[in-house]
């Protein structure tokens, strides 16, 4: 049942236009990152820079440049904060997700509702109190801890729900077999459920990591010194009082995006299955 020619042509035309729209802004960022300071604002459209330069990239690493060459600080901070957030959230969420999946207890429904609701909090809801508590009272401004705790406010509920729905798919007979072998409830969880859940945990961790890696608002509130910045707000350093260093902005954007993109494509199959388990049911 072959499609008529015009239909195939139409399908491809639409998809080609859509693909061009999807790709173009990204190509434009890439191209701009190699332009010198005059060509970034010009009335010529140059997809391939006429006078390409690497200076925007070099400046990211050069301590003598205006933006201080803090790239490795930012990268390190982003990595540390994302890893800590992920580890904390997955660790806490695993037991809770398990309890919600396997046990009946008083308070189960309100807890589930609480996790669902706190997942939809926009960051601004906790901004004022977290700034006062973590920033002023505990003096955690410009530390990774402020952000790890702030990110945990959404990452933990999210991970709980994701893991709960993963645990739901594991047959309960496995643990019962374990109990016959003399394992207690904690032993069964740790020795049997956790090892079997590695794929679910990996997907959950991936989500938590990417969310922390890309977060912008809390970082803006809690980080005020360039050496403590994460990559997302490092981009802000390229905005001066009146003007913006577009070449530098784009060079940093390219470097931030490449690992995320690679990561994304490696994980895309799981992303989709994650959608089916966590996102959609949640």
């Amino acid at each position: 049942m072959k499609q008529p020619l015009w239909e195939r042509v139409a399908t491809h035309s639409i998809l080609i236009v859509a693909s061009a729209i999807a790709v173009f802004p990204i190509l434009w960022v890439f191209s701009t990152s190699f332009k010198n300071q005059f060509d970034v604002l010009s009335t010529e459209i140059e997809l391939i820079p006429a006078d390409p330069t690497l200076e925007n990239y070099q400046a990211l690493f050069d301590p003598g440049s205006a933006t201080g060459g803090f790239f490795w600080n930012w990268f390190g901070n982003s990595l540390l904060i994302s890893v800590l957030t992920t580890a904390l959230s997955v660790f806490l969420a695993a037991t809770a997700g398990y309890a919600l999946s396997r046990h009946r207890f008083w308070g189960k429904r309100p807890s589930t509702t609480f996790f669902l609701v706190s997942q939809m909090f926009p960051a601004v809801i906790l901004m004022v109190p977290l700034y006062q508590l973590l920033g002023i009272q505990f003096r955690l401004l410009n530390t990774p801890w402020a952000l790890v705790l702030a990110y945990a406010t959404t990452a933990v509920p999210f991970c709980v729900l994701m893991l709960k729905s993963y645990f739901d798919t594991l047959p309960i007979e496995l643990e019962e077999a374990g109990k016959i072998d003399g394992l207690g409830p904690f032993g069964a969880f740790w020795r049997i459920v956790v090892p079997l859940s590695t794929p679910g945990i990996a997907v959950t961790a991936f989500y938590a990591f990417i969310t922390a890696w890309n977060e912008f608002l809390f970082a803006l509130v809690f980080l005020t010194e360039p050496e403590s910045f994460t990559l997302p707000i490092g981009v802000r350093l390229f905005i001066n009082q009146f003007t913006q260093n577009w070449g530098g902005t784009m060079a940093l954007s390219v470097i931030v995006t490449i690992p995320v993109m690679v990561f994304f494509y490696l994980a895309q199959r799981y992303l989709i299955s994650g959608l089916a388990t966590g996102g959609v049911k949640g």
Binding site: P25, W28, F216, V235, M250
Partner: protein, 295 residues
Amino acid sequence: MRERMWVAYAFMAPVAIVMALIVLYPLGLSIWSSFTDLDRSNQATIFRPSREQFIGLDNYVGVLTSADFRGRLGWTAIWTGVNVFFHYTIGLGLALLLNQRFRGRTVYRLILMLPWAVPAFISAVAWRYIFNGEYGFLNLFLGGFGIDGPNWLSDPFWAYVAPIIVNVWLGVPFMMVALLGGMQSIPGELYEAARVDGATRRQTFWNVTLPQLRSVSVAVTMLGVIWTFNLFVVIFLTTGGGPGGRTDILVTESFNLFQAGELALAATYSVVILSLLLIFVTAYQRAFRTEEAAA
């Protein structure tokens, strides 16, 4: 049974404690702050304790009766509705195309997912650059066709359109992938049966595909509404709320109030935002649950 309860609580305890400390307690503080006149000049600092005063419902009365808030609420609703509409329809259209068998569809799918893979704050900044009225790509491109493009970020009308363009660009891939997943899990027999009945493709779409996508659609549109309603970076980094604060949605306005030092008003805004979200989610779920029960 009692022993199992004890086990469950032991499993829940770490999360319960942490959530109480970093979510419930701050949330309580936020609600408390919204009944005070807390701002940057009377907040607690290392130099002195806080001096804010309880002022009852004044903040709520002030916010809810202001024309500014109503305008912003209206724009936030339009922003959310228009975005989710385009996310869903374009996502559905592309998913339908990709659900056919033809050479190269994996490549198309990977390319079309690209906007999802780019961090949103980067896309927003990149689009801001593209929207520059005089030197931006978009207007230079339109100029090539003899079209005099508008000032996307400062024209009172186009400044509303520009962030919607950015967010549609950002949000379509998620819908497309989710709906494509939904389509691929529709049992082939249903299509077979429709073909046997002599249904046209249009009829098949309306009577098989769309009803089968129902639960996925309900879920993704609800997520879409929540995400878009809460989406801070796109507005903040493309228009920055401009021109003159017109394009600020509720969450960016709450942040602006925070930056301006109006902490109590920022908290008031955030409580209002949370209430609106809760009302929406409850109503949405109820609407679809009762409909499902009736069907």
